[in-house]
Amino acid sequence: MTATQVQVRVPASLRSYTGGRPVVDVDIGALGGDPTVGSLLDHLAAVHPDLERRVRDEQRRLRRHVNVFVGTENVRDLSEQGTPVAGGDEVAIIPAVSGGA
C-alpha cells in the first residue's frame, strides 16, 4: 500500500471473490472527490461485483451482520457509508458476531 491507496482487508469467507487475495488495494484517485466508504464500495462493485454484493444489498445498504471498519472505528459509529477515507487508510470488512446455533 502507498499513501495514495486504500487497503481493503477481505475476510477469508469472501476471498473466493478476490481470487484468493486477502487485501485489495484501491487508488484513492479512483474514488473521485471527497472519497468515502460508500464511494469505495461503489468502486468495488465495479471491480469485484460479487464481493460488493455480499457486503451490501442491491439498494447499496450495508448488510445487517457485516461491519466495515476504517482503521479501528466501525463506520456504524461514524457516518456509515458517508465516513471519509483517505490514502493510507486501512478498511476492513468483518462479519459481525452472530449466527446462532
Binding site: 460479487d50 455480499r54 439498494q59
Partner: protein, 356 residues
Amino acid sequence: MIGTRKGLFLARSEDRATWAVEGPAFPMNAVYAVAVDTRRESPRLLVGADSEHWGPSVFHSDDLGASWDETEGGALRFPVETGAALTRAWQLQPAGADQPDVVYAGVEPAALFRSDDGGATFSLVEGLWDHPHRPRWQPGGGGLCLHTVVPHPTDADRIVVAISAAGTYRTEDGGKSWQASNTGIQALHEPDPFPEFGQCVHKIARNPARPDEMFLQNHGGVYRSRDGGETWETIEDGLPATFGFPMVAHPHTPGTAYAFPLVADAHRMPPEDRLRVYRTTDGGDSWHGLDAGLPREPAYSTVLRDAMCADDEPPAGVYFGTRGGDVFGSADEGETWGSVARYLPDILSLRAARVP
C-alpha cells in the same frame, strides 16, 4: 436434494431403499429453496442459499452438485427503483416442459421473478409487483414471502402463486395481470372470515395430469379447487387436524395428494405425537394416515412447507424431512417408509428426481 438450516445435503440411491448422504455444501447457509430441473440435457440443480452475514444467493450445478456456479453480480436482484432488497429465495420452480429454459423464483419480500436462462439470471415479474393489493399485504410468521409457484404444465400463460399472508393469486396472461384467487378460503386472523385477500396459504399442489384440480394447505383448513384456483372448498374428511404446512400432489395419478397435519396453530406438533403422512386418493373426499415403517415413539417435530416432495417414478416416491433433521422416504407411494437421512440440521426444503 435436502436443504437445511445449515447447508445442502445430497442423498443418492439406486433402489430408493438405501441412501448415501453427502454434504453439507454451502455450510451455515440456510437453504430454503432447492430444485432439480430435469428438462435439460444434463439435469440442473438449483439452490437458494442464505448466509446470515453475506446475504442470499442462487447457485446452480450441471454436474449433480460436484461444482456450483454463482451468476456474477447475483442471479436474483430487485431493480434499484423498487427500493427493495432480496431477503431470500423461498421457491425455485421450473416451468412446464414446453418452456425448458423458464424457471420461476418466489422470494421475500413477496415477489415473483422469472428466468429465461435456466435460473442463471432472473427478472422481476412486474405485473404482480405492481398489483394494487401489494401495499396492503401483511407478513406471516415467516415474513412477507412468495413461497409457492405453481406453473401450469401445458399452458405457459397460467400460473398460480401463494403468498404469506396475502393468499393465492393467479394469472392467465403469463404474469401481466393477476387476480386474487381466494374464494372459499377462510382467513383466521381477519374480522371478515372470507376477505378477497389476506389468507395465510401455506402450500398449493397441482397434479400435472389434471391441472385444474389443486390442493391447498391453509393456516388452518385444507382445500381443493377444481376450476384452476377460481374457487375453493374444504376437504377435511379423515384428517385428524386441519393445520399444517406442506401439500404434495402425486406426480402421475390425478386425485392423489399428501399432507402432514399438525394439531393446531397453537400446538404445532403431529396429532397423537406420531409422525404420520395423510393421503387422499379420491381428490380430497377422504384422507387416510400412512405410518408403516415410521418411528413408533412419540415425535414432536414438524414438517415445513417445502420439506415434503414426490419423485416422478412409477411407483412414485414420497419424501418428507422434519425440523429435527430426519428425512424419511417411501418408494411405494406412501404405503411403507424408511429412513433416508438422520441427525441433519432442520430440514427446510426437499426435492427428489431420477437423474442419470
